[in-house]
Protein backbone atom coordinates (compact mmCIF):
# COMPACT_ATOMS: atom_id res chain seq x y z
CA UNK A 1 0.00 0.00 0.00
CA UNK A 2 1.41 3.32 -1.00
CA UNK A 3 1.40 5.03 2.36
CA UNK A 4 3.44 8.11 3.09
CA UNK A 5 5.20 6.57 6.03
CA UNK A 6 8.58 4.98 5.45
CA UNK A 7 7.89 2.67 8.38
CA UNK A 8 5.54 -0.17 7.75
CA UNK A 9 2.26 -0.65 9.52
CA UNK A 10 1.36 -4.03 10.92
CA UNK A 11 0.04 -6.34 8.25
CA UNK A 12 1.99 -4.64 5.52
CA UNK A 13 5.58 -5.59 6.10
CA UNK A 14 5.28 -7.62 9.21
CA UNK A 15 8.70 -9.14 9.34
CA UNK A 16 10.45 -5.80 9.15
CA UNK A 17 8.60 -4.25 11.97
CA UNK A 18 8.37 -7.23 14.25
CA UNK A 19 11.80 -7.69 15.69
CA UNK A 20 11.87 -10.03 18.66
CA UNK A 21 15.44 -10.89 19.56
CA UNK A 22 16.49 -14.04 17.81
CA UNK A 23 19.53 -14.63 19.99
CA UNK A 24 17.22 -15.85 22.73
CA UNK A 25 16.63 -19.09 20.84
CA UNK A 26 18.51 -21.85 22.59
CA UNK A 27 20.90 -23.91 20.53
CA UNK A 28 20.98 -26.76 22.96
CA UNK A 29 17.96 -28.93 23.58
CA UNK A 30 18.11 -30.20 27.15
CA UNK A 31 15.36 -32.63 28.14
CA UNK A 32 12.52 -30.95 29.97
CA UNK A 33 9.08 -32.10 31.02
CA UNK A 34 6.02 -30.33 29.67
CA UNK A 35 4.91 -29.49 33.17
CA UNK A 36 8.12 -27.68 33.86
CA UNK A 37 7.71 -25.64 30.70
CA UNK A 38 4.45 -24.22 31.98
CA UNK A 39 6.28 -22.51 34.78
CA UNK A 40 8.85 -20.95 32.50
CA UNK A 41 8.91 -17.96 30.26
CA UNK A 42 7.22 -14.58 30.43
CA UNK A 43 4.77 -13.52 33.10
CA UNK A 44 1.47 -12.15 31.79
CA UNK A 45 2.79 -8.64 32.22
CA UNK A 46 6.05 -9.43 30.46
CA UNK A 47 4.13 -11.13 27.68
CA UNK A 48 1.91 -8.09 27.19
CA UNK A 49 4.96 -5.82 27.17
CA UNK A 50 6.70 -8.07 24.65
CA UNK A 51 3.70 -7.94 22.32
CA UNK A 52 3.33 -4.18 22.77
CA UNK A 53 6.96 -3.69 21.70
CA UNK A 54 6.41 -5.75 18.57
CA UNK A 55 3.55 -3.66 17.19
CA UNK A 56 4.70 -1.32 14.41
CA UNK A 57 4.16 2.39 15.04
CA UNK A 58 0.93 3.96 13.77
CA UNK A 59 -0.83 0.62 13.40
CA UNK A 60 -4.54 0.26 14.00
CA UNK A 61 -4.84 -2.70 16.34
CA UNK A 62 -7.80 -4.65 17.64
CA UNK A 63 -7.17 -6.36 20.96
CA UNK A 64 -9.21 -9.42 21.86
CA UNK A 65 -10.78 -10.07 25.22
CA UNK A 66 -8.52 -11.41 27.98
CA UNK A 67 -4.74 -11.48 27.64
CA UNK A 68 -4.61 -9.29 24.50
CA UNK A 69 -6.47 -6.46 26.26
CA UNK A 70 -3.51 -6.12 28.63
CA UNK A 71 -1.25 -5.14 25.74
CA UNK A 72 -2.83 -1.68 25.70
CA UNK A 73 -1.16 -0.52 28.87
CA UNK A 74 2.35 -1.29 27.57
CA UNK A 75 2.15 0.62 24.32
CA UNK A 76 4.61 3.44 23.80
CA UNK A 77 2.53 6.62 23.45
CA UNK A 78 5.08 7.90 20.95
CA UNK A 79 4.25 4.98 18.64
CA UNK A 80 0.82 6.54 17.92
CA UNK A 81 -0.92 3.20 17.83
CA UNK A 82 -4.70 3.42 17.57
CA UNK A 83 -6.70 0.74 19.34
CA UNK A 84 -9.88 -0.32 17.58
CA UNK A 85 -12.69 -1.81 19.60
CA UNK A 86 -15.32 -3.51 17.47
CA UNK A 87 -18.23 -2.22 19.54
CA UNK A 88 -17.69 1.08 17.75
CA UNK A 89 -14.67 2.93 19.03
CA UNK A 90 -11.27 3.82 17.63
CA UNK A 91 -8.68 5.37 19.91
CA UNK A 92 -8.97 3.49 23.21
CA UNK A 93 -6.36 4.64 25.68
CA UNK A 94 -6.15 3.55 29.26
CA UNK A 95 -8.74 3.47 32.01
CA UNK A 96 -11.00 6.18 33.38
CA UNK A 97 -10.77 7.72 36.81
CA UNK A 98 -13.72 7.67 39.16
CA UNK A 99 -14.55 11.11 37.80
CA UNK A 100 -14.35 10.23 34.11
CA UNK A 101 -15.97 6.78 34.28
CA UNK A 102 -18.78 6.58 31.75
CA UNK A 103 -21.06 3.57 31.29
CA UNK A 104 -21.31 4.36 27.59
CA UNK A 105 -17.55 4.31 27.03
CA UNK A 106 -16.59 0.65 26.95
CA UNK A 107 -14.41 -1.69 24.94
CA UNK A 108 -15.45 -4.97 23.31
CA UNK A 109 -14.76 -6.74 26.59
CA UNK A 110 -17.42 -4.49 28.17
CA UNK A 111 -14.81 -2.82 30.37
CA UNK A 112 -14.70 0.90 31.03
CA UNK A 113 -12.03 2.69 29.00
CA UNK A 114 -10.76 6.14 28.22
CA UNK A 115 -10.02 7.50 24.78
CA UNK A 116 -7.25 9.63 23.35
CA UNK A 117 -7.65 12.88 21.41
CA UNK A 118 -8.52 11.92 17.86
CA UNK A 119 -10.74 9.04 18.93
CA UNK A 120 -14.01 8.41 17.12
CA UNK A 121 -17.23 6.56 17.88
CA UNK A 122 -19.31 4.91 15.16
CA UNK A 123 -21.97 2.27 14.61
CA UNK A 124 -21.35 -1.46 14.30
CA UNK A 125 -21.74 -1.55 10.52
CA UNK A 126 -18.94 0.96 10.06
CA UNK A 127 -16.89 -0.75 12.75
CA UNK A 128 -16.97 -4.02 10.84
CA UNK A 129 -16.50 -2.23 7.54
CA UNK A 130 -13.16 -1.21 9.05
CA UNK A 131 -12.41 -4.83 9.91
CA UNK A 132 -13.78 -6.61 6.84
CA UNK A 133 -12.47 -3.94 4.51
CA UNK A 134 -8.88 -4.48 5.58
CA UNK A 135 -8.46 -1.18 7.39
CA UNK A 136 -7.42 -2.72 10.72
CA UNK A 137 -3.71 -3.52 10.47
CA UNK A 138 -3.51 -6.07 13.22
CA UNK A 139 -5.80 -8.20 15.36
CA UNK A 140 -4.33 -9.75 18.49
CA UNK A 141 -6.66 -12.47 19.68
CA UNK A 142 -6.75 -15.09 22.38
CA UNK A 143 -6.79 -18.71 21.33
CA UNK A 144 -7.84 -22.17 22.44
CA UNK A 145 -5.98 -23.95 19.64
CA UNK A 146 -3.79 -22.93 16.71
CA UNK A 147 -2.40 -25.35 14.18
CA UNK A 148 0.48 -25.44 11.72
CA UNK A 149 -1.84 -24.30 8.92
CA UNK A 150 -2.48 -21.09 10.82
CA UNK A 151 -6.02 -22.13 11.64
CA UNK A 152 -7.47 -20.79 14.87
CA UNK A 153 -10.10 -22.13 17.24
CA UNK A 154 -11.04 -19.69 19.95
CA UNK A 155 -14.79 -19.52 20.31
CA UNK A 156 -16.49 -22.83 20.95
CA UNK A 157 -16.18 -26.02 22.97
CA UNK A 158 -19.14 -27.99 21.64
CA UNK A 159 -21.59 -29.17 24.26
CA UNK A 160 -19.64 -27.68 27.11
CA UNK A 161 -20.14 -23.99 26.94
CA UNK A 162 -22.12 -21.61 24.79
CA UNK A 163 -20.45 -18.34 23.92
CA UNK A 164 -20.75 -17.39 20.27
CA UNK A 165 -18.09 -16.18 17.92
CA UNK A 166 -18.70 -12.48 18.46
CA UNK A 167 -16.42 -10.51 16.17
CA UNK A 168 -13.62 -13.06 16.06
CA UNK A 169 -14.51 -14.55 12.67
CA UNK A 170 -14.66 -11.11 11.13
CA UNK A 171 -11.36 -10.12 12.69
CA UNK A 172 -9.43 -13.16 11.48
CA UNK A 173 -10.91 -12.66 8.02
CA UNK A 174 -10.49 -8.94 7.65
CA UNK A 175 -7.57 -7.72 9.73
CA UNK A 176 -4.42 -7.45 7.64
CA UNK A 177 -2.49 -9.53 10.16
CA UNK A 178 -3.63 -11.82 12.96
CA UNK A 179 -1.53 -12.61 15.99
CA UNK A 180 -2.68 -15.11 18.59
CA UNK A 181 -1.63 -14.39 22.15
CA UNK A 182 -2.32 -17.21 24.58
CA UNK A 183 -0.85 -19.56 27.13
CA UNK A 184 1.17 -22.32 25.56
CA UNK A 185 -0.83 -25.13 27.14
CA UNK A 186 -4.35 -25.57 28.45
CA UNK A 187 -5.18 -26.27 32.09
CA UNK A 188 -4.57 -29.97 31.64
CA UNK A 189 -1.09 -29.24 30.36
CA UNK A 190 -1.84 -30.12 26.73
CA UNK A 191 -0.22 -27.92 24.12
CA UNK A 192 -2.56 -25.47 22.39
CA UNK A 193 -0.24 -25.39 19.37
CA UNK A 194 -1.27 -28.43 17.40
CA UNK A 195 -0.72 -30.12 14.11
CA UNK A 196 -4.45 -29.83 13.51
CA UNK A 197 -7.17 -27.99 15.47
CA UNK A 198 -9.87 -30.26 16.90
CA UNK A 199 -12.27 -27.55 18.08
CA UNK A 200 -14.58 -25.64 15.72
CA UNK A 201 -12.53 -23.13 13.73
CA UNK A 202 -12.73 -19.38 13.98
CA UNK A 203 -10.89 -19.20 10.70
CA UNK A 204 -8.75 -21.43 8.49
CA UNK A 205 -5.19 -20.37 7.61
CA UNK A 206 -5.48 -16.97 9.17
CA UNK A 207 -2.78 -16.72 11.85
CA UNK A 208 0.50 -14.99 11.07
CA UNK A 209 2.11 -15.17 14.51
CA UNK A 210 1.56 -16.88 17.84
CA UNK A 211 3.02 -15.62 21.08
CA UNK A 212 2.85 -17.59 24.29
CA UNK A 213 4.74 -17.26 27.53
CA UNK A 214 7.42 -19.40 25.89
CA UNK A 215 8.09 -17.42 22.76
CA UNK A 216 7.09 -16.31 19.27
CA UNK A 217 5.97 -18.87 16.70
CA UNK A 218 4.87 -18.85 13.10
CA UNK A 219 2.68 -21.48 11.48
CA UNK A 220 4.35 -22.52 8.23
CA UNK A 221 1.89 -25.04 6.86
CA UNK A 222 3.93 -28.03 8.05
CA UNK A 223 5.18 -27.00 11.50
CA UNK A 224 5.71 -24.01 13.75
CA UNK A 225 8.76 -21.92 13.13
CA UNK A 226 10.25 -20.85 16.44
CA UNK A 227 11.07 -17.22 15.90
CA UNK A 228 12.33 -16.51 19.39
CA UNK A 229 12.03 -17.89 22.89
CA UNK A 230 11.47 -16.16 26.18
CA UNK A 231 14.48 -15.83 28.47
CA UNK A 232 15.35 -19.16 30.05
CA UNK A 233 13.14 -21.18 27.73
CA UNK A 234 14.73 -23.79 25.53
CA UNK A 235 13.51 -25.32 22.32
CA UNK A 236 12.66 -28.58 24.05
CA UNK A 237 10.31 -26.70 26.38
CA UNK A 238 7.96 -25.73 23.59
CA UNK A 239 6.94 -29.19 22.42
CA UNK A 240 7.47 -31.94 19.89
CA UNK A 241 10.65 -31.19 17.86
CA UNK A 242 8.86 -32.39 14.75
CA UNK A 243 6.32 -29.61 15.22
CA UNK A 244 8.61 -26.80 16.40
CA UNK A 245 11.64 -25.89 14.30
CA UNK A 246 13.99 -23.00 13.96
CA UNK A 247 14.78 -23.42 10.28
CA UNK A 248 13.20 -21.16 7.69
CA UNK A 249 12.78 -23.68 4.88
CA UNK A 250 9.12 -24.54 4.41
CA UNK A 251 8.61 -27.14 1.78
CA UNK A 252 4.87 -27.55 2.08
CA UNK A 253 3.80 -24.13 3.23
CA UNK A 254 0.62 -22.92 1.65
CA UNK A 255 0.78 -19.92 -0.62
CA UNK A 256 -0.89 -17.78 1.98
CA UNK A 257 1.54 -18.78 4.67
CA UNK A 258 4.49 -18.25 2.38
CA UNK A 259 3.35 -14.72 1.80
CA UNK A 260 3.49 -14.06 5.52
CA UNK A 261 7.14 -14.93 5.28
CA UNK A 262 7.97 -12.49 2.54
CA UNK A 263 9.67 -9.40 3.82
Amino acid sequence: MARPSATALAGETLTLAHTPSREAVAVTRPPSSGTQALLRGWSDAALAAEVARAIPPRSVVNLGIGLPTQVAQYLDPAASIMIHSENGLLGVEGRPTEATLSPTRINAGKESVDVRPGAAYFDSALSFAMIRGGHVNLAILGGMQVDVQGSLANWSVPGRKLTGMGGAMDLVTGARAVWVMMRHADRSGASKLLERCTLPLTGAGVVARIITELGWFRPTGTHFEVISLAPGVTLSDVGDPALFRTDRVFENASRATQRADEP
Binding site: K110, L201, A204
Partner: protein, 260 residues
Protein backbone atom coordinates in the same frame (compact mmCIF):
# COMPACT_ATOMS: atom_id res chain seq x y z
CA UNK B 1 -44.00 -2.19 -8.62
CA UNK B 2 -43.31 0.53 -6.13
CA UNK B 3 -46.69 1.12 -4.54
CA UNK B 4 -46.08 -1.69 -2.13
CA UNK B 5 -43.00 -3.82 -2.12
CA UNK B 6 -41.64 -6.14 0.46
CA UNK B 7 -38.07 -5.71 1.54
CA UNK B 8 -35.76 -8.62 2.28
CA UNK B 9 -37.39 -11.09 4.61
CA UNK B 10 -35.85 -11.99 7.89
CA UNK B 11 -35.78 -15.64 8.89
CA UNK B 12 -39.09 -15.73 10.63
CA UNK B 13 -39.50 -12.00 10.16
CA UNK B 14 -41.87 -10.14 7.93
CA UNK B 15 -42.39 -6.68 6.66
CA UNK B 16 -45.85 -5.79 7.86
CA UNK B 17 -48.58 -4.72 5.54
CA UNK B 18 -50.18 -1.34 6.03
CA UNK B 19 -52.91 -1.72 8.58
CA UNK B 20 -55.54 0.91 9.11
CA UNK B 21 -57.20 1.35 12.46
CA UNK B 22 -55.30 -1.62 13.79
CA UNK B 23 -55.22 -0.31 17.32
CA UNK B 24 -51.84 1.38 17.39
CA UNK B 25 -52.05 4.45 19.58
CA UNK B 26 -51.45 7.84 18.04
CA UNK B 27 -48.50 9.94 18.95
CA UNK B 28 -48.46 13.67 19.37
CA UNK B 29 -46.55 16.57 17.87
CA UNK B 30 -46.37 17.55 14.22
CA UNK B 31 -45.25 14.09 13.13
CA UNK B 32 -47.43 12.10 15.56
CA UNK B 33 -44.35 10.22 16.72
CA UNK B 34 -44.01 11.34 20.32
CA UNK B 35 -45.49 8.96 22.87
CA UNK B 36 -46.00 9.36 26.58
CA UNK B 37 -44.02 6.34 27.56
CA UNK B 38 -43.22 2.71 26.95
CA UNK B 39 -46.76 1.48 27.66
CA UNK B 40 -48.23 3.63 24.90
CA UNK B 41 -45.39 3.15 22.45
CA UNK B 42 -45.30 -0.62 22.74
CA UNK B 43 -49.05 -1.21 23.05
CA UNK B 44 -49.26 -3.24 19.83
CA UNK B 45 -46.09 -5.26 20.27
CA UNK B 46 -47.63 -8.70 20.19
CA UNK B 47 -46.65 -12.20 21.15
CA UNK B 48 -44.76 -13.91 18.35
CA UNK B 49 -43.22 -10.65 17.17
CA UNK B 50 -39.72 -10.43 15.74
CA UNK B 51 -37.93 -7.80 17.81
CA UNK B 52 -34.55 -6.18 17.31
CA UNK B 53 -32.92 -4.61 20.33
CA UNK B 54 -29.90 -2.32 20.27
CA UNK B 55 -27.06 -2.56 22.73
CA UNK B 56 -23.65 -4.15 23.15
CA UNK B 57 -23.79 -6.12 26.37
CA UNK B 58 -25.63 -3.67 28.59
CA UNK B 59 -24.29 -0.59 26.82
CA UNK B 60 -27.03 1.30 25.03
CA UNK B 61 -29.86 -1.14 25.70
CA UNK B 62 -33.48 0.11 25.59
CA UNK B 63 -34.09 -0.32 29.31
CA UNK B 64 -37.62 1.05 29.47
CA UNK B 65 -38.87 -0.86 26.45
CA UNK B 66 -37.42 -4.09 27.79
CA UNK B 67 -39.09 -3.47 31.15
CA UNK B 68 -42.38 -2.95 29.32
CA UNK B 69 -42.01 -6.23 27.42
CA UNK B 70 -41.43 -7.91 30.75
CA UNK B 71 -44.44 -6.19 32.32
CA UNK B 72 -46.76 -7.06 29.45
CA UNK B 73 -45.59 -10.63 29.29
CA UNK B 74 -45.75 -11.01 25.51
CA UNK B 75 -44.45 -14.45 24.61
CA UNK B 76 -42.83 -16.43 21.81
CA UNK B 77 -40.62 -13.54 20.88
CA UNK B 78 -37.84 -13.78 18.34
CA UNK B 79 -35.08 -11.54 19.62
CA UNK B 80 -32.39 -10.15 17.37
CA UNK B 81 -29.70 -8.61 19.53
CA UNK B 82 -25.95 -8.92 19.78
CA UNK B 83 -25.92 -10.45 23.25
CA UNK B 84 -29.53 -11.03 24.39
CA UNK B 85 -28.65 -9.32 27.62
CA UNK B 86 -25.78 -9.95 29.93
CA UNK B 87 -25.36 -11.13 33.52
CA UNK B 88 -29.11 -11.50 33.99
CA UNK B 89 -29.84 -7.92 32.95
CA UNK B 90 -31.32 -6.39 29.83
CA UNK B 91 -32.96 -8.89 27.49
CA UNK B 92 -31.76 -11.71 29.74
CA UNK B 93 -34.73 -10.83 31.95
CA UNK B 94 -37.03 -11.98 29.14
CA UNK B 95 -35.18 -15.27 29.04
CA UNK B 96 -35.80 -15.88 32.73
CA UNK B 97 -39.49 -15.15 32.31
CA UNK B 98 -39.73 -17.60 29.42
CA UNK B 99 -40.83 -15.05 26.82
CA UNK B 100 -38.24 -15.91 24.17
CA UNK B 101 -38.69 -18.60 21.54
CA UNK B 102 -35.81 -17.85 19.19
CA UNK B 103 -32.72 -15.68 19.35
CA UNK B 104 -30.40 -14.38 16.66
CA UNK B 105 -27.21 -13.05 18.18
CA UNK B 106 -23.45 -13.00 18.02
CA UNK B 107 -21.98 -13.40 21.48
CA UNK B 108 -23.67 -14.88 24.52
CA UNK B 109 -20.77 -15.37 26.92
CA UNK B 110 -21.83 -14.10 30.33
CA UNK B 111 -25.41 -15.11 29.67
CA UNK B 112 -26.06 -18.23 31.78
CA UNK B 113 -29.84 -18.00 31.29
CA UNK B 114 -29.48 -18.31 27.56
CA UNK B 115 -26.97 -21.10 27.87
CA UNK B 116 -29.21 -23.08 30.22
CA UNK B 117 -32.34 -22.64 28.11
CA UNK B 118 -30.49 -23.49 24.93
CA UNK B 119 -29.06 -26.72 26.28
CA UNK B 120 -32.50 -27.55 27.76
CA UNK B 121 -34.03 -27.07 24.31
CA UNK B 122 -36.31 -24.30 25.54
CA UNK B 123 -35.27 -21.90 22.82
CA UNK B 124 -33.57 -22.02 19.48
CA UNK B 125 -30.56 -19.98 18.61
CA UNK B 126 -28.82 -18.64 15.55
CA UNK B 127 -25.26 -17.49 16.16
CA UNK B 128 -23.96 -15.04 13.56
CA UNK B 129 -20.48 -13.52 13.28
CA UNK B 130 -20.80 -10.01 14.62
CA UNK B 131 -19.82 -8.19 11.44
CA UNK B 132 -22.17 -10.34 9.39
CA UNK B 133 -24.86 -9.73 12.01
CA UNK B 134 -24.43 -5.95 11.66
CA UNK B 135 -24.24 -6.11 7.88
CA UNK B 136 -27.34 -8.29 7.55
CA UNK B 137 -29.31 -5.76 9.57
CA UNK B 138 -27.96 -2.88 7.54
CA UNK B 139 -28.82 -4.76 4.34
CA UNK B 140 -32.34 -5.46 5.59
CA UNK B 141 -32.87 -1.76 6.20
CA UNK B 142 -31.19 -0.61 3.00
CA UNK B 143 -33.12 -2.83 0.58
CA UNK B 144 -30.05 -4.94 -0.16
CA UNK B 145 -31.43 -8.46 -0.44
CA UNK B 146 -28.18 -10.34 0.08
CA UNK B 147 -24.41 -9.89 -0.03
CA UNK B 148 -21.19 -11.86 -0.30
CA UNK B 149 -18.76 -11.72 2.60
CA UNK B 150 -15.56 -13.65 3.24
CA UNK B 151 -16.32 -13.90 6.97
CA UNK B 152 -17.04 -17.41 8.20
CA UNK B 153 -15.78 -19.39 5.22
CA UNK B 154 -14.39 -22.72 6.41
CA UNK B 155 -16.25 -22.56 9.73
CA UNK B 156 -19.61 -23.71 11.04
CA UNK B 157 -20.95 -20.27 10.10
CA UNK B 158 -20.77 -21.46 6.48
CA UNK B 159 -23.00 -24.47 7.01
CA UNK B 160 -25.86 -24.56 4.52
CA UNK B 161 -24.73 -21.37 2.84
CA UNK B 162 -23.81 -20.72 -0.77
CA UNK B 163 -20.08 -20.22 -1.24
CA UNK B 164 -18.89 -18.24 -4.22
CA UNK B 165 -15.38 -17.30 -5.24
CA UNK B 166 -14.47 -13.69 -5.82
CA UNK B 167 -10.88 -12.73 -5.02
CA UNK B 168 -11.47 -15.17 -2.18
CA UNK B 169 -14.34 -17.50 -1.26
CA UNK B 170 -17.35 -15.73 0.16
CA UNK B 171 -20.64 -16.67 1.80
CA UNK B 172 -24.00 -15.42 0.62
CA UNK B 173 -25.78 -13.76 3.54
CA UNK B 174 -29.29 -12.33 3.42
CA UNK B 175 -30.80 -9.15 4.82
CA UNK B 176 -32.41 -9.31 8.23
CA UNK B 177 -35.60 -7.45 9.20
CA UNK B 178 -37.92 -7.30 12.19
CA UNK B 179 -41.43 -6.25 13.11
CA UNK B 180 -40.15 -3.94 15.82
CA UNK B 181 -36.83 -2.37 16.64
CA UNK B 182 -36.25 -1.09 20.16
CA UNK B 183 -33.43 1.37 20.50
CA UNK B 184 -32.21 3.82 23.09
CA UNK B 185 -30.44 7.10 22.42
CA UNK B 186 -29.13 9.87 24.59
CA UNK B 187 -31.07 12.57 22.75
CA UNK B 188 -33.89 12.62 20.26
CA UNK B 189 -36.44 15.03 18.81
CA UNK B 190 -40.08 14.90 17.75
CA UNK B 191 -39.19 13.74 14.26
CA UNK B 192 -37.29 10.82 15.69
CA UNK B 193 -33.80 12.10 14.94
CA UNK B 194 -31.38 10.41 17.33
CA UNK B 195 -27.97 11.16 18.80
CA UNK B 196 -26.06 8.51 20.71
CA UNK B 197 -23.48 9.00 23.43
CA UNK B 198 -20.04 7.46 23.01
CA UNK B 199 -20.06 3.73 22.27
CA UNK B 200 -23.75 3.33 23.14
CA UNK B 201 -24.52 3.69 19.43
CA UNK B 202 -23.42 0.20 18.28
CA UNK B 203 -26.28 -1.61 16.48
CA UNK B 204 -29.10 0.84 17.18
CA UNK B 205 -28.94 3.06 14.08
CA UNK B 206 -28.85 -0.06 11.89
CA UNK B 207 -31.74 -1.75 13.62
CA UNK B 208 -33.80 1.43 13.33
CA UNK B 209 -33.61 1.07 9.55
CA UNK B 210 -34.59 -2.60 9.48
CA UNK B 211 -37.89 -2.80 11.32
CA UNK B 212 -41.46 -2.10 10.33
CA UNK B 213 -41.88 -0.09 13.52
CA UNK B 214 -38.90 1.43 15.26
CA UNK B 215 -39.49 2.61 18.80
CA UNK B 216 -36.82 4.87 20.23
CA UNK B 217 -36.50 5.80 23.88
CA UNK B 218 -34.28 8.73 24.78
CA UNK B 219 -32.85 10.19 27.94
CA UNK B 220 -33.52 13.68 26.64
CA UNK B 221 -36.31 14.65 24.27
CA UNK B 222 -35.08 17.89 22.73
CA UNK B 223 -36.82 20.46 20.52
CA UNK B 224 -36.73 20.09 16.74
CA UNK B 225 -33.59 21.78 15.53
CA UNK B 226 -31.68 21.30 18.78
CA UNK B 227 -29.63 18.46 17.31
CA UNK B 228 -27.09 19.79 14.79
CA UNK B 229 -28.31 18.63 11.39
CA UNK B 230 -24.89 17.29 10.37
CA UNK B 231 -24.49 15.25 13.53
CA UNK B 232 -27.67 13.21 13.67
CA UNK B 233 -26.67 9.56 13.98
CA UNK B 234 -30.05 8.17 13.01
CA UNK B 235 -32.35 10.38 10.91
CA UNK B 236 -35.98 10.35 12.03
CA UNK B 237 -37.14 8.79 8.77
CA UNK B 238 -36.19 5.49 10.38
CA UNK B 239 -38.05 6.08 13.64
CA UNK B 240 -41.82 5.67 13.92
CA UNK B 241 -42.26 6.31 17.67
CA UNK B 242 -40.23 8.07 20.30
CA UNK B 243 -40.60 8.61 24.03
CA UNK B 244 -38.55 9.94 26.86
CA UNK B 245 -37.61 7.19 29.28
CA UNK B 246 -36.63 7.49 32.89
CA UNK B 247 -34.75 5.82 35.74
CA UNK B 248 -31.92 4.63 33.54
CA UNK B 249 -29.52 2.32 35.29
CA UNK B 250 -26.88 2.45 32.53
CA UNK B 251 -25.13 -0.53 34.03
CA UNK B 252 -21.55 -1.27 33.11
CA UNK B 253 -20.29 -4.83 33.24
CA UNK B 254 -16.67 -4.13 34.19
CA UNK B 255 -16.09 -0.64 35.62
CA UNK B 256 -12.30 -0.83 35.72
CA UNK B 257 -10.57 2.29 36.97
CA UNK B 258 -7.09 3.66 36.32
CA UNK B 259 -4.43 2.47 38.76
CA UNK B 260 -3.61 5.43 40.97
Amino acid sequence: MAVEHEAAEAPGGSRGQPVEGHGAPSGSGPFLKVFEGAAQALADLHSGAVVMSGGFGLCGIPECSIAELLRRGVRDLTLISNNIGNRGKGLAQLLKSGQVRHAICSYVGGNPDLEAQFFAGELTLELVPQGTFAERIRAGGAGIRAFYTPTGVGTVAAEGKEVRAFDRPCLLETGLRADFALVKAQRGDAYGNLWFKESARNFSPLMATAATVTIAEVEELVPLGALPAEDIHCPGIFVQRIYQGSHYENAIEYPILRSP
